[in-house]
């Protein structure tokens, strides 16, 4: 159970469908949604501190070397004696530390493609698109990972990964910009972080997670062994639609053709649903058709007066 709750972390992928994930996620999401509202309010207003629930023993894998300890910020209040992760209002550093753990675990599942030029290129495009957002100050990091799946992931603090499988489906830099824009939007809106916060404020695994990032490296290693699991989870459907809308605009602001993301959604939509390469994506995202239709509803005539952006097919870095 702890493990499950835990895994909530990351969330995100990009493309795909958002149907309901596994049973656990379902429960969790539903319960959370209803419960959280009141609880968060309660915590906000009354300062009641959620009880740290879970015992920190379930996490199996020793993982990480812990990142910078986000010590500075005042703790939520459970145990004032030690520095704790401030779940109520995490600092940017804490957010980054959290994202690092999650991303590092993901990299444990699928390492970076060994192609320095590719990694550099993706960082160039991503950085430029991220510059157009409200959080240009984050130390944005992008990477292409060794997987034939079609997917992409974001983690708090500015970490974005795209699979090689998805990268190979791209035909232009504008399409890459659209995909990265969607992930950047998740970070900007703190979609994953919010899910984690709710989880914490409700007291699920509070002991674990605060220990984990606050004071004890060993605990952190233990607990975050499951960090990447959150990538297998769904965000709220609306969060995905919002990321589509924002991602499209971020890429357009960056001077790219506005329809790069839509092109990629088209490609994904044409992938056989039974294909294992889209299994996780389709499990964690709304159907591409639905996403395209929603995007179309929002766009309407709003972009009619925008000068056509660039697609830059020729600059797209070609993988061997």
């Amino acid at each position: 159970m702890n493990k499950l709750l835990f895994s909530l972390f990351l969330a995100a992928g990009i493309f795909g469908t958002f149907s309901i994930p596994q049973a656990q996620a379902l429960d969790f999401g539903k319960v959370l949604k209803d419960a959280v509202k009141d609880k968060v309010e309660e915590v906000k207003n009354g300062g009641e501190t959620p009880a740290p629930a879970a015992s920190p023993n379930n996490a199996s894998s020793p993982a990480v070397e812990t990142s910078a300890s986000p010590a500075a910020t005042p703790a939520v209040a459970t145990s004032p004696a030690q520095p704790e992760f401030n779940w109520k209002n995490p600092s940017q550093q804490e957010e980054i530390a959290l994202g690092r753990e999650i991303t590092g675990s993901l990299l444990g599942a699928a390492p970076l493609v060994k192609d320095e030029a590719l990694q550099k290129y993706v960082n160039q495009v991503g950085r430029w698109v991220a510059n157009q957002s409200e959080r240009a100050d984050l130390p944005w990091k992008f990477g292409v990972i060794e997987s034939n799946d079609l997917n992409a992931f974001a983690a708090p603090g500015g970490y974005v990964l795209i699979t090689k499988g998805l990268y190979q489906k791209l035909h232009s830099e504008a399409q890459l910009a659209g995909v990265l824009g969607h992930e950047i939007a998740h970070v900007v809106k703190k979609h994953q972080l919010k899910v984690l916060q709710k989880q914490q404020l409700l007291g699920y695994g509070a002991g674990k997670l605060s220990d984990l990032l606050g004071k004890n490296d060993k605990l952190a290693k233990k607990a975050l062994g499951t960090g990447a699991e959150i990538s297998a989870r769904s965000l709220d459907k609306d969060a995905e639609f919002e990321a589509d809308r924002m991602g499209m605009i971020l890429a357009t602001r960056a001077g790219y053709d506005a329809y790069g993301l839509a092109d990629v959604l088209q490609t994904i939509g044409q992938t056989n649903k039974n294909d294992s390469s889209v299994a996780l994506l389709f499990k964690t995202h709304p159907a591409p058709d639905e996403r395209l239709a929603k995007l179309g509803d929002s766009v309407g005539g709003n972009l009619d007066n925008i000068k056509a952006g660039k697609t830059l097919e020729n600059r797209l870095y070609k993988l061997n």
């Binding site: 699991e229 294909d275 995007l295």
Partner: protein
């Protein structure tokens, strides 16, 4: 009479399966929503027809944010996001069945590299932090200014534009 019916159904089936291939005029597409078909790729161009959700269309060309299409009833331009590429879902189902029968389900496209993993929920659950890869990723971090130079090199100029509102 009954046989006749069967035959008709068979023909119908065969046609529907084959039509995406026979769509010589252009790529097959499906309407994602109701929309107006216009004479030209502009919002204020003359209306020449309308598109209903799930209508089959032939996609002829793309121009900016518009697609030139042909339906059974009319031809003209619609907004890009109103049409999805690919035939309707029934045809996809047919394809799925064929894939299963031929043992291709789960691979879809030919993947030449073996030994490269997918990323299942299980893989992610079992994943362990990889410090070395993390450091590699961090080593590629660029500054906002780096991004700017890269953009300039590609002739990209930032555009001022508000975010879109969510539709109901």
């Amino acid at each position: 009479m009954r046989n006749c019916l069967k035959l008709l159904i068979l023909i119908g089936l065969a046609t529907s399966l084959a039509s995406p291939i026979l769509g010589l005029a252009g790529d097959a597409g499906t309407a994602l929503k109701t929309d107006t078909i216009r004479a030209e790729p502009f919002a204020d161009a003359k209306t020449v027809g309308s598109l209903a959700k799930n209508d089959a269309v032939d996609i002829l060309t793309k121009k900016g944010a518009w697609l030139q299409i042909k339906t059974k009833k009319s031809a003209g331009w619609v907004r890009l996001l109103s049409v999805k590429r690919g035939a309707s879902s029934s045809a996809n189902n047919g394809k799925g069945v064929i894939d299963v029968a031929s043992g291709r389900a789960g691979t879809g496209q030919v993947v030449s590299t073996t030994g490269i993993r997918g990323l299942s929920a299980e893989d992610l659950k079992a994943a362990k932090f990889n410090e070395e890869e993390m450091k590699k990723m961090e080593s590629h971090t660029l500054s906002a200014r780096d991004g700017q130079s890269f953009a300039s090199a590609g002739g990209l100029n930032a555009v001022k534009l508000a975010y879109l509102k969510g539709a109901k």
